[in-house]
Symmetry: C2
């Protein structure tokens, strides 16, 4: 068998930045819209609910002659034994022959590609004059989503971070969050210009925001429909499994709703409750259709738009391929 | 992240032999019967029917504290560009933490573990005095199945190999097949004692055989029901996808039928047509239940028995773990 390239977390951090991720994820969404990128069925297994689970995501990108998979696990108990909660590994293969070409630590890739999709949702669906960005959640995905949205929406002046479950924890780590955001912007030769504030009042924060990103593991709505002003855009990042929900399903009745993958969103996305309760019966399109102007996105200033991002392996695959293209002299090659 | 062990085809061939595979696969079947080994949903994708396809198999073994997956592809065109038809890669993880612990070239493992299951089927279901073994098919799986069955059934005196599609090709390679069989036996400190013959008359061969192993990619039955004598055992290895069939579905009406995994066999095993045509409505059990004496296997000399082996990732996982246990000083460790 041929040699495969092994890229560790350290290797990947030398190569990847948010601009690369945004371009790669856009390319994946576009290939999907053109039927050149497929999302294969998700395998999900739970050792203990909300404590230890894993999933296998897979798919292909025809323009890139590649397919592959990602095995990602989340273990809440890992920090007790000095390990990361998330372990993620991707295998990339050549779709002309089937040969494996690379093994990558997919944990950093997951953070970047997930953040990128939040930013892409805002880029194509939010009002161009959006000034206030609210991010609900203060973990890794929140940080990467803020960075991507600051890049795609340079008009943003204020970022409000709200952690409805634990405000004190947010206050304790806000300085580190600002440093992380700045470092990720510096990787793209940018700097943090927007003001970053913490909020303990989610209702007021929702009311003053133009773009809202949700990035929590919540299983019940954190944002009520009556708080949402006209013109708001939502990028919903947290719901990626059955039973998850971050925003009131009634918001869907007055919104234009876009999926990363329609089937996956109906089953496991933020839209699942709206579908179950017959609040909506279809999407306005997939994000790739909007990027390629096959479907209309926002049409009026007062439209409420929702991007339901469940996360697709093709985002990881496109990002992994960009990393591989830029990996000369980095990583090791192993005969398999 | 921790270090993972990388084991190449060459590394694995230094460690693995058929005895290791038989013991590992039996252990996997037993854990499954005790609800300690699970088979997760199969992902299958076809680039071109019967030319290029791939699947992702996954699952866990609780007693071994492990889970993982195998990505395996088959590309009929690969030899034209000097590559193997089969590419297979397994990722093994620690089921206490989720950390990946090893990446293995799963092509040799697949051959051994598949052969092992044919031999285990015979061991637990064939008549103890079986003398003649017929193997339909002459590819890799046929060779490994012969070796495993010679090990589990040392009573076998004659092996008849039949390639109904291409007898000349079989004649051309029979000397190599004998060498391969002998080499695989020598790995286990055994030698080839049985006679190996080629047959171009499948009907007569079926009529004189006690054990029949089918290992072809056939999509229609090669063995007619009226040829099958009382007391015959079948280990059906070839059917692992929808649409495949090697033996007349009418044989099922007079046989005791065992699955490696009931759900997978109904969907994609040799039993699929018998189920679709309502010839049978359930199995006599899974092979693990027979090994553990939870279900009866053969009861009478004249019973016809069928083991439908679709192939389970837990067979690969158990074998991979045995390889890892014996890999001191072999392979390389890489920080991921």
């Amino acid at each position: 068998m041929n040699k495969i390239k092994i890229l560790s977390e350290v290797d990947i951090k030398k190569i990847l930045n948010m601009n690369i991720a945004i371009n790669a994820v856009e390319s994946a969404y576009k290939q999907k819209s053109d039927n050149k990128g497929e999302v294969w069925p998700l395998v999900f297994y739970e050792y203990e609910h909300n404590v230890f689970d894993l999933d296998i995501r897979s798919g292909n990108l025809d323009d890139s002659n590649a397919y592959g998979l990602k095995l990602i696990s989340y273990n809440e108990n890992n920090p007790k034994v000095g390990l990361n909660k998330v372990n993620a590994t991707s295998l990339v293969c050549d779709s002309k022959t089937g040969q494996p070409i690379a093994l990558l630590n997919a944990a950093p890739i997951t953070s970047y590609r997930t953040g990128a999709s939040a930013g892409i949702g805002a880029k194509y669906l939010a009002r161009k004059d959006s000034k206030n960005l609210l991010v609900v959640g203060s973990g890794n995905i929140a940080i990467y989503s803020i960075v991507a949205t600051l890049i795609t929406m340079p008009c943003i002046e204020k970022v409000i971070i709200c952690n409805p479950k634990n405000y004190n924890s947010l206050l304790n780590k806000i300085d580190n969050i600002k440093v992380d955001i700045n470092n990720l912007l510096v990787e793209c030769n940018l700097e943090l210009k927007a003001t970053i504030v913490c909020s303990n009042d989610i209702e007021t924060s929702v009311k003053e925001s133009d773009i809202i990103i949700t990035a929590t593991p919540s299983e019940k709505p954190l944002i009520k429909s009556e708080w949402v002003k006209e013109g708001t855009h939502f990028s919903c990042m947290g719901a990626c499994m059955e039973g998850k929900q971050e925003i009131d399903e009634l918001i869907f009745s007055k919104a234009k709703v876009y999926a990363d993958d329609i089937n996956q969103c109906i089953k496991s996305g933020e839209s699942q409750t709206a579908f179950k309760n017959n609040i909506i019966s279809n999407f306005n399109g997939e994000i790739g259709d909007v990027i390629l102007n096959k479907e209309n996105g926002r049409e009026l200033e007062e439209d409420i738009t929702i991007f339901d991002s469940t996360g697709l392996f093709i985002q990881d695959l496109a990002t992994s391929l960009e990393i591989l293209n830029n990996s000369n002299g980095i990583g090791i090659e192993v005969k398999l």
